[in-house]
Amino acid sequence: MESLLAHRLIVVTGKGGVGKTTVAAAIGLEAARRGRRTMVAEVARRTDVAGVLDAAHTGDGAAETELAPGLFHVSVDPEQAMEEYLRDQLPSAAAGLLNRSRLFGLLAAATPGLRELLTVGKLWELAQLDRRTPGATPYDLVIVDAPATGHGVAVLSAPRAFAGAAHTGPVARQASIIHATLSDPEVTAIVAVARAEELAVTETLALQAALRDTLDAELDAIVVNALAPDRFTPADARRLEEQPDGPGVQRALAAHARARRQRAQLARLTRATGHRALRLHAQAVATPDLAALADELAGQLA
């Protein structure tokens, strides 16, 4: 756990609606506070991270932008990644030829999984110390706000699928290198974000299994977000039950019941995954500022 921020690449995934984006941004903020030059990247035309980090941020996120000291953001676009890849792999005349070729454009659009491969390829490139993008400064840490569980795993496994389908040639070679990076636990950490709710816990268990199956990878950390305050002891609850008509007592008992359900799901998660989850409370009541979440994380990351 203490070494989470020591990775070069942290992929943050989990069930939709659990707060992946916020958690990815909070991890990024904490890393930047510790002096690491940090990139938080998102995919699939989204600019949510920018919104969480800086409400005033506008634009399509396509350029690498410093949103806070040491904290950068980019939204990875597969088409742009394709152009960059071709420029890097081929002499410029040949790259220009392919980029202009209608036939090639159609073929690229129709090839299943190619967008995913290009997206992952760009994330890999961002994490290289020796950046291929001319003039680009390397990052100490790249955090990916990845798609939700199912598609997240599909994106992560695209390089291996391509390496398998292509056997030989530059794409196969490139895809194998990317896959090796993603499945190297020294380099890449995969973080699941969950809530202490039945479906979110179930999906986290499914994610752990899918990562083992398709990537030979393990979860490095689980973050449980939006835990409700757990104020009442069993003795408190018994005393409240004796005063059922007291002002606010029913609300207190409902909150107690919710906290108990969350505790049970947290126990289930810990038991089944073998992970002691990082716990975040700030988002249970009101929309927190990112700094509060980063503070909570900081206390749990060594």
């Binding site: 081929l90 939700a148 794409v171 929309t287």
Partner: protein
């Protein structure tokens, strides 16, 4: 929420806002009104799946027999991979054409990794059930899309993926496939093979060639799906929780629906916190005598949390009303229990009808 006369109900929204449960409750209500309803769920909680009899295998609806209804309730859980395979078998001109695609390595390894493949299979299933005379209404729970666009674009993506022009360019006598098969020396081809290696190019051309027999079927199907999504008897319901991100997603999706001329049927806000009946400090003062300062303070702190959440929710609801121009979003209070049985669904369904929660 008035759904009478609707033949297709599509329940859309961010992940984690209660779409699946809402879809099941709406389907139960329609069945109670006498309709024969099929509900397609994407990823139900285990106990809800049990309640709906979804543990049986198969990629077809099963009738829910455990409840007495004027109509019929059928439920299924979508199996994306199988729906894709079934569709290929259905649209292939013959068995060997279907076998070629299903057995192709590119198809097997990569079709699951494609963005939007779950969205595409969901609408394909919707279309199939809608045309089946066994059901009057189909309710579709949509996949937990990161991006609402994926769902609306599914038919276009399908035609784009298998677009006649794209395939022609690849399959025409002088197209890419011919050049690969004939080890052609066209300049694009030679650059491309340098990039990908000849094996991948071979596999791709075999893949596209084996798909070529299916193009017409796919194109007709995509056109049918698109027409169905815009039909006046189809309605899109948006579901959200009062949190910031799902609300923004719902507003965005609504804009896309309008731009695409798709029928919007209303918005449901789940998990709304009621403001506390008592002021926290008043409660503390009244409870302190009986329960002691410490416990009374905990109750007051709980009420303060609820106040904050209720205010946040009220703001979110106002925001939704303003942005969508909707006067009466359906508000579902935060329930004390997760909904996981037919009784719970029936309670939720009464909320959706704006009847008092019993």
């Amino acid at each position: 929420m008035n759904l009478s006369g609707k033949r297709v109900v599509i329940v859309a929204g961010s992940g984690g806002v209660g779409k699946t449960t809402t879809s099941a409750a709406l389907a139960l209500g329609l069945a109670a009104d006498g309709e024969r309803v099929a509900v397609v769920t994407i990823d139900p909680a285990r106990r809800l799946a049990t309640a709906l009899g979804l543990e049986e295998l198969g990629n077809e609806p099963h009738r829910v027999e455990t409840v007495d209804l004027a109509g019929e309730l059928w439920a299924m859980q979508l199996d994306a991979k199988r729906t894709f395979d079934d569709l290929i078998e259905l649209l292939a001109p013959n068995e060997s054409a279907a076998r070629d695609v299903l057995g192709n390595r590119i198809y097997r390894e990569l079709s699951g990794a494609m963005t939007g493949s779950q969205e595409f299979t969901a609408v394909a299933k919707l279309y199939e059930l809608h045309r089946d005379p066994r059901w009057d209404v189909v309710v579709l729970d949509t996949p937990p899309s990161r991006n609402a666009l994926d769902f609306l674009d599914a038919p276009d993506r399908l035609t784009g993926f298998l677009d006649g022009r794209a395939l022609q360019a690849i399959l025409a006598p002088t197209g890419l496939a011919a050049r690969v098969i004939g080890r052609g020396t066209g300049v694009v081809f030679s650059v491309l093979s340098r990039l990908t290696g000849i094996d991948l190019l071979d596999d791709l051309s075999v893949f596209f060639r084996s798909l070529s027999g299916l193009i017409d079927g796919f194109r007709r199907r995509a056109a049918g799906v698109k027409e169905l999504l815009g039909d006046p008897d189809t309605t899109f319901l948006l579901v959200t929780s009062p949190e910031r991100e799902p609300v923004e997603e719902a507003i965005f999706f609504h804009g896309r629906l309008r731009a695409a001329g798709m029928p919007f049927g209303g918005i449901i806000v789940n998990r709304v916190h009621r403001a506390p009946e008592t002021d926290p400090e008043v409660a503390r003062a009244e409870l302190a005598g009986e329960l002691g300062e410490r416990l009374a303070g905990k109750v007051a702190a709980t009420l303060r949390d609820v106040e904050v959440l209720a205010r946040r929710d009220a703001d979110a609801i106002e925001h939704v009303k303003r942005e969508l121009g909707v006067a009466d979003p359906v508000l579902v209070p935060l329930l004390d229990q997760d909904v996981y049985d037919l009784e719970g669904l029936a309670r939720l369904e009464r909320c959706l009808r704006d009847e008092p929660v019993g």
